[in-house]
């Protein structure tokens, strides 16, 4: 069985309406951030969720660590369903999250050493002496060495890359089994990105973590993930192993995404076939296949019927009517 499992997972956010609008109509509109998704992440996977803004990838990440409650469907991590009564505390010890912006996820008035130790204080009820030892060790592990020169510093005294190391240290010190990394390198300088990606990969293999890597950057997913799902407007478009997805992308949306990435090779300049338009609103998503209004291959069935998952090669799933003719 998969380690992280989601079935028919749904998250709708109600749209805030003005008082008068509430009086006039009883009906509430919903943003369908995640709409009936199945996900299965094996133990030890670095699983990539790739998509543009508004595709629902962050919401899925938050649902799998119980930072958001599903509207419908269920999630489980290592067999535990956090919403199935009384198991939340146990669940919290096993999962962690790494955010995109290290500056806003660190308390500016707290020494970074103390910040890293917080999870041990609350989740493991560890005393201050033992905590200090554990934090020093962790600082060295994430490359903030020597630990004594970093423990007493404040977040704003560190560079962006060092801050992201602190955030990673804080997430991993309580020895979680499952970590959601939400765009962990998006705000890190280009020359520092490879350091942070390599640190995450090293920690993942040393601590035998299962990682859900949320990113909009296909190149980052390619470098880090062994299995990847591409998302579009609250739905999964395609799922496959790294090699399958990049050497043989099937969904027209995946193909469009790949074609749109500017390749750092001036000899590979191509006239691009970029789809027109932008992602429609998740308030009223298109009928049938959600990509159909922008898809160059759309035919009548795409508008009428939602595509089922198809498996044209083993382990490679695509939600597209083109492969069902």
């Amino acid at each position: 069985m998969a380690f992280v499992e989601a079935s028919k997972l749904k998250k709708y956010f109600p749209v805030q309406k003005s008082f008068i609008a509430q009086l006039l109509s009883r009906q509430t509109d919903y943003v369908r951030a995640v709409d009936e998704i199945d996900l299965s992440v094996r133990r030890g996977d670095v699983y990539g969720l790739v998509g543009e803004s508004g595709s629902g990838k962050t919401t899925i990440g938050r649902l799998t660590v119980a930072l958001a409650k599903p509207t419908a469907g269920r999630v489980s991590v290592g067999g535990t369903d956090p919403f199935a009564g009384g198991r939340m505390k146990e669940f919290r010890r096993r999962v962690q999250m790494i955010y995109q912006d290290p500056l806003s996820s660190l308390n500016p008035k707290m020494k970074v050493g103390d910040a890293i130790g917080e999870p041990l204080r609350y989740l493991a009820k560890m005393g201050s002496h033992k905590r200090r030892l554990a934090v020093d060790k962790m600082l060295e592990t994430v490359g903030l060495s020597p630990a004594s020169t970093f423990y007493d510093r404040y977040p704003q005294e560190l560079s962006g890359g060092q801050r992201q190391r602190v955030v990673i240290a804080r997430a991993l010190i309580s020895q979680p089994e499952y970590v959601v990394a939400d765009e962990p390198v998006a705000m890190v300088d280009v020359s520092v990105r490879a350091q942070i990606m390599d640190l995450l990969l090293r920690m993942q293999s040393d601590l035998k973590l299962t990682v859900l890597m949320i990113t909009h950057d296909l190149a980052v997913a390619k470098y880090m993930c062994n299995r990847i799902s591409v998302m579009y407007l609250g739905k999964i478009a395609e799922t496959g192993d790294n090699e399958q997805l990049f050497s043989n992308p099937l969904h027209p949306y995946t193909k469009a995404l790949m074609a749109a990435v500017p390749i750092p090779n001036p000899r590979a300049r191509t006239e691009k076939n970029v789809p027109t338009g932008e992602i429609p609103s998740a308030l009223h998503p298109p009928s049938g296949c959600r990509f159909h209004p922008r898809c160059p291959y759309a035919f009548d069935r795409c508008k009428a019927e939602e595509p089922r998952p198809l498996e044209p090669e083993p382990g490679h799933f695509v939600f597209c009517h083109l492969y069902d003719r």
Binding site: S191, A194, Q195, L218, A259, P262, P264, N265, E278
Partner: protein, 286 residues
């Protein structure tokens, strides 16, 4: 012309300087800027205004903060045209706006909409249109697609390239994305810590980078191209500009560092046709 660099490398400041937008009271600066043969850096504010907008225009990263939320899109254009060219009538300005809307791929009916009714990509199209409507010779685009998703980014870059060709523009494209310069630029300047590390034709920058920073940067970026290559990590972090390293600013991170690097600042030296780099390795005697 592409200018690449990380945050804090000075690439935006360079763009602002060329636009004459650095605050005169608080910024201390020296050196000269020439535009169409004239030294524009010595112009007073009134004189500078005749160039800014009309001959040189700028496109910024975040279109929402550059557009007035309570003003219709069309009125942005009309006001902008008539501020710079008071002789132009409102009708004439509307006519020119309609024409530019066509170039941008925006239906002219949407001129009556407000900025919040536009998507991110459409707003950035509007910014490009505003920059173009006075027929400038040079456009400075400062991270024009950083706030956009990758497919919309590709659309905007395509539009920029098409309009550049159509109006015979010069473009300075400021970005941190090596992929974008590879796709768009003829020539690239690589900036580090407020200085130009290397400047050369795009092909040379990517195929024979001379500066160790350029080399390191290219080996450390992941790509979607075939083959899952291992990345070479650049050690260390970009410098703190309030307290930059002595000598060459890259020396604390450079794999080839030698004694001279921490003492003496390297000057740009010719490394080929139209190519310059600032590194002591290039002038080191064997």
């Amino acid at each position: 012309m592409g200018i690449v660099g990380e945050s804090g490398s000075g690439k935006s400041t360079l763009g602002f300087a060329i636009m004459g937008l650095l605050p005169r009271s608080t910024a201390r600066w020296s050196g000269k800027i020439f535009f169409e043969g004239e030294e524009v850096s010595s112009f007073d504010e009134r004189h500078a205004r005749q160039i800014r907008g009309r001959r040189v225009a700028m496109i910024f990263q975040d279109p929402m903060t550059s557009l007035n939320p309570v003003k219709k899109i069309g009125d942005h254009f009309i006001e902008y045209i008539r501020t710079h060219e008071p002789a132009v009538s409102r009708q004439e300005a509307t006519k020119r706006t309609t024409a530019i809307m066509h170039d941008l791929g925006i239906p002219p009916a949407r001129m009556a909409d407000y900025p919040h009714q536009f998507s991110g990509g459409m707003r950035q199209r509007v910014m490009i249109g505003l920059a173009l409507v006075l027929n400038p010779a040079l456009i400075i685009a400062d991270e024009p697609t950083t706030a956009l998703d990758v497919i919309v980014e590709a659309q905007i870059l395509q539009l920029l390239a098409d309009l550049k060709r159509k109006y015979n523009l010069s473009v300075i494209l400021i970005t941190h994305n090596m992929g974008i310069v590879a796709q768009m630029a003829d020539k690239v300047a690589v900036m580090y810590s407020g200085r130009i590390a290397e400047i050369a034709p795009t092909i040379d920058i990517f195929e024979q980078p001379k500066h160790p920073y350029t080399q390191a940067l290219l080996q450390s970026i992941p790509t979607v191209e075939a083959g899952r290559k291992t990345l070479k990590v650049v050690p260390g972090y970009p410098p703190d500009l309030t307290n930059p390293p002595s000598g060459c600013p890259f020396h604390p991170r450079c794999p080839y560092v030698f004694d001279r690097c921490s003492v003496e600042e390297p000057k740009l030296v010719a490394t080929g046709a139209n190519a310059l780099a600032a590194c002591h390795l290039l002038t080191r005697r064997p």
